[in-house]
Amino acid sequence: MDSATFERPTGPSSAGPSLADTADNGLKIVIVGGFGAGKTTMVRSVSEIRPLNTEETMTRAGEGIDELADLEGLSRKTSTTVAFDFGRISLDARSVLYLFGAPGQERFWFLWDRLFSGTLGAVVLVDTRRLSDSWYAIDRLEHHNTPFIVACNDFGGPLHTEEQIREALDLGPDVPMVECDARDRSSSKYVLITLVEHLHALSSQSMSASARNPSAQNPSATSRAAEPTPEAAS
């Protein structure tokens, strides 16, 4: 801790470049995956700052977690702490993209609405040796209607065909899947571009669908986003 304090006497500038004074629009992409799938590695490979870590302590009305706490005899009743890493990419003079490496475990998901609402989309980072680690995350992303792609991080394990992986993950044909090496900047960059291209295709489709059927959705509503949502997204 001492050395960390010593390194940064002047605030975040020591962690990397400061943002441009004109920066005014923060964007989010979430990279979700099991323990050791390479989330932080991927964030590090494309981030302009060294990945930082922070935590959220959340309170919620009792549910599974509290029962678990009681079972384990913990005194903490309704609060849970989730730590996550993040990095940053300045896209242009105004837009800054934040990449969040989010844990895939069950206890994290009640935070999703609160922390990651408004996220552009998600990358599910998969270790093909441990495909089942991704099941829960994929299920929850679908439940939250968060668009995502799957990126298979290359750990040099046995090769699976794309078909085998899709089948094991129960992925629809409409979800893009790519291979990547999370340590490699251009590979991670390609993953992000694949995600945003996918989002663009979905968004263009939904725009043209609503143009054909104006009552279905009001496209102009997408731009009126500045107001924060009131609490209780869930």
Binding site: A23, D92, L120
Partner: protein, 118 residues
């Protein structure tokens, strides 16, 4: 390594926020960019001073939390105080936040340009 938010006594966190555990701090998204609008004044709480120094150029809420080593929920309450007293301004994300709604294609095209230029 010690992390202030985790290891310090809850009493200290309670003091930092004047005893509140929540507030209108939900206005701050993780990626809301915060900009200081004034210099620190004598007698200000040291965390407030740190925030004002840090935010001479825009800094996201999540970066402030990481730098201070405090949970985001605590930082948001302090930011709400600083906003109320006009010491900071907040630049909220313009992305659609509602579920089931995709960002518009123009925004995504800008994101793609930025990513390809990396």
């Amino acid at each position: 390594m010690s992390r202030p938010g985790r290891d310090e006594s809850p009493d200290r966190l309670y003091t930092l926020t004047g005893g509140r555990s929540h507030s209108d701090s939900d206005t701050f998204d993780l990626v809301t960019l915060v900009v200081a609008e004034s210099d620190p004044a004598p007698g200000m709480q040291s965390e407030h001073v740190a925030i004002l120094r840090m935010c001479r150029s825009p800094v996201a809420v999540v970066e402030i939390a990481a730098e201070l080593g405090l949970p985001g929920s605590i930082v948001r309450i302090m930011l709400a105080d600083l906003l109320d007293t006009g010491r900071i301004s907040a630049r909220h994300p313009r992305t659609a936040r509602a579920a089931d709604r995709l960002p518009d294609p123009e925004l995504l095209e800008q994101v793609l340009v930025g990513l390809r230029n990396l």
